[in-house]
């Protein structure tokens, strides 16, 4: 059994479709490829010539799981291009919308997509029979996120209320305050959920990551902040492309983000955020972080599920606070005039930092668009993790080995649908390179 190839034809419990192959020579890892066979959809290309007002609606369609992340990055980048600044009220409402997406996405991933790995299930369908309370809690929390998205965004998937300049219509106060009883319950349930995931059986696997996330001195960064890293980087988002590049790497069919001028991978996502902004977590989440048996900063990717839990608590706590203080805002949309310009923005999608850059012409049409989603940034990191991880999990049973690899991949909650528009790939499913 010296030379063998382990293939995962289709990664499951991730968003979008991808596969994995691993080539081994004895116990030595020869090749690891996270292969993504999502077909390209050319978003940056067909955005050219569209009105900038359409961008939040169109980019939302890159990903049905985290459309808000695309909308938020797009509107901020376009507002930067137009020189529009937001009122504090609109800014808070946007954070509230993002809280909805974090709650929905984190609850989904923690309970339905990732927990089955630790508990030995295929998915929610079989897990529900043994952990009905946990599954039902996950579903309820997820629903809260969706309800918030519906009130504020019109619908949970591809919300329609986000626009350049703010919102098409500010929600009525009663519609938001109606959510409060559920959210108060949800906050407690989120705390319980986090305590629960913290007790899962984590492999002892820490990695010397450079973790990258937005950081803001006054708040837990979502829509704004410096791009910071655990290695001491702290730059304005306008300088993002001077520090990070998308690169074609020999062994992969996919484009990987690496630190500019090096081959170094980096890690984005909830673990990066918590590590960089632990002190900005909401009081309840901050306290919980201390109570858990985890030393922060944490370098174990499997414990990203706990970081998600903390962010879930944070999102609930912040949402409740914003809703309590909410008064309908007027105007809900800041007026602007079209002029030529360019702007960029980064926000924190549930899966990590997402970067958009646009150039617009004087008629408000898109001249150039660049979108870097979180999963592309994590891709090289995932492959490097797997190289390290594989020697520990290689067993004779290929299926078991593959399963263990998948578990690691799922720590990143990869969103492959998002990644595709930038991937260069040839479809070569199942044939080892």
């Amino acid at each position: 059994m010296s030379n063998r190839t382990i293939k995962v034809e289709a990664l499951t419990r991730v968003e979008g479709e991808g596969g994995l192959y691993v080539q081994l020579d004895g116990d030595e890892v020869r090749d690891v490829k996270l292969s993504i066979y999502e077909p390209p959809r050319f978003f940056e290309a067909f955005l050219q010539g569209r009105k900038l007002e359409e961008v939040p609606d169109i980019t939302a369609r890159i990903c049905g799981i985290c459309p808000v992340a695309y909308q938020m990055s797009a509107v901020h980048a376009l507002e930067a291009a137009l020189g529009v600044s937001m009122t504090p009220e609109i800014r808070r409402l946007r954070r509230l919308l993002y809280c909805g997406e974090w709650i929905e996405s984190h609850a989904l991933h923690m309970h339905l997509l990732h927990a089955p790995d630790f508990l030995g299930f295929h998915g929610v369908t079989d897990m529900a029979a043994h952990f009905p309370d946990e599954v039902n809690r996950g579903l309820r929390l997820k629903k809260h996120g969706n309800e918030l998205l519906e009130v504020l965004g019109g619908r949970a998937i591809h919300p329609i209320n986000v626009c350049v300049g703010g919102f098409y219509r500010a929600p009525k106060r009663e519609k938001l305050t109606k959510l409060l009883p559920d959210f108060e319950w949800g906050l407690e349930a989120a705390v319980e959920a986090t305590q629960w995931v913290a007790t899962l059986d984590f492999p002892d696997f820490s990695r010397p990551y450079e973790m990258v996330a937005l950081h803001h001195p006054d708040e837990y960064a979502m829509n704004e902040g410096q791009v910071a890293s655990t290695s001491g980087l702290s730059i304005d988002v306008r300088d993002y492309e001077q520090h990070f590049e998308e690169r074609h790497v020999q062994h992969s069919t996919a484009l990987h983000s690496v630190r500019q001028g090096t081959d170094a991978s980096y890690h984005v996502g909830p673990l990066a955020r918590v590590n960089l902004s632990l002190e900005q977590l909401s009081p309840r989440a901050r306290q919980l972080a201390d109570e858990l048996d985890i030393d922060w900063p944490c370098w174990n990717p499997f414990q990203a599920i706990v970081a998600r839990g903390l962010e879930l608590v944070h999102a609930y706590e912040e949402a409740i606070e914003i809703i309590r203080d909410y008064r309908p805002i007027q105007p809900s949309q800041i007026k602007y005039t079209h002029h030529a310009g360019f702007g960029c923005a980064a926000t924190e999608a549930p899966r990590g930092l997402i970067y958009h850059r646009y150039e617009v012409d004087r008629d408000g049409k898109i001249v150039f668009a660049k979108i870097v989603p979180p999963t592309s940034q994590n891709q090289q990191q995932i492959e490097e993790d797997l190289r390290d991880w594989l020697p520990r999990v290689i067993v004779d049973d290929d299926q078991q080995t593959a399963l263990d690899c998948e578990r690691l991949i799922r720590c990143y909650d990869p969103c492959i649908s998002c990644s595709t528009h930038f991937l260069r790939l040839t479809i070569d499913r199942g044939e080892p390179a």
Partner: protein, 262 residues
């Protein structure tokens, strides 16, 4: 009224898409466990790593056909599936990525990719029904989870799913909304767009952008002619009709017609 005893074997397949439509099933939080109890989920990568080989009684197909490989894959899925339902605008009309149908694919590839030779893609993005026979189409970008549940319920009960085909306007007015086009002049595709979304855009003070595709029997030209007479530039009408359902025939033809006028 007894439903057929056996639980239909359900598979969920994905082509070029954003995953949002299959997420709609997971978004049916209150009914999810009941729904999965009604069917035997045999293939649903987003939700479970359990994979059961075909044939399948029911296939839900998300996404459009954009690669040579997917052209073949959908044929195989058709062979494996008893009842094939397409879900969402990508699967029913080619999706937003069907904008390539009006462009030069090579230009598109070069815009996005530094090494175009690696890209294997068709010059068009087309609906599933352009390739294989489809038994039922569920519209929307994204689909409505309640309609999806109705479809599953109907299949379990062995009846034809019931989704309504009237215009967005009827839902809009029943919610007490004021017609945005009449009251503000903003173009709205509501009169020619199929119901299903709950008229959310007009409810949130903006014109409908047609994400449920054309309603049955529409006179798109009457609407566009009127909007153009009222001051909307033809150049603005084209992208309005050409977004998430640009490949749906009435929208496609009307956008082509207006484009030829400009």
């Amino acid at each position: 009224m007894s439903a057929p005893a056996a639980r239909p074997k359900l598979a969920v397949f994905k082509f070029a898409s954003c995953d949002g439509c299959q997420l709609s099933l997971l978004d049916a939080e209150d009914q999810l466990l009941d729904v999965v109890g009604l069917v035997d989920i045999a293939y649903f990568l987003e939700a479970t790593s359990k994979i059961v080989d075909g044939p399948y009684d029911v296939a839900l197909v998300e996404g459009s056909i954009t690669t040579p490989r997917d052209e073949e894959r959908i044929q195989e899925i058709r062979r494996q599936s008893g009842y094939l339902i397409t879900i969402g605008a990508c699967a029913t009309a080619g999706g937003i990525q069907a904008l390539r149908n009006w462009a030069n694919l090579d230009d598109f590839i070069r815009t996005v990719y530094a090494s175009p030779q690696y890209i294997s893609s068709l010059s068009t993005s087309t609906a599933i029904a352009d390739h294989v026979a489809v038994d039922f189409e569920l519209r929307g970008c994204p689909i409505n989870q309640y309609q999806l549940i109705e479809v599953i319920q109907a299949l379990v009960a062995g009846r034809k799913p019931h989704t309504r085909t009237h215009s967005v306007c009827m839902d809009c007015k029943q919610q007490g909304n004021v017609c945005i086009t009449v009251a503000t002049g903003e173009p709205c595709l509501g009169p020619v767009t199929q119901s299903g979304c709950g008229a959310i855009c007009p409810t949130y003070n903006r014109g409908c952008y047609g994400c449920y595709g054309p309603a049955k029997q529409i006179h798109a030209q009457s609407l566009t002619d009127h909007l153009i007479r009222q001051g909307t530039a033809p150049a603005e009408m084209v992208p309005l009709l050409r977004n998430f359902n640009s490949g749906a025939e009435p929208f496609r033809d009307e956008s082509n017609r207006i484009e030829s006028l400009t």
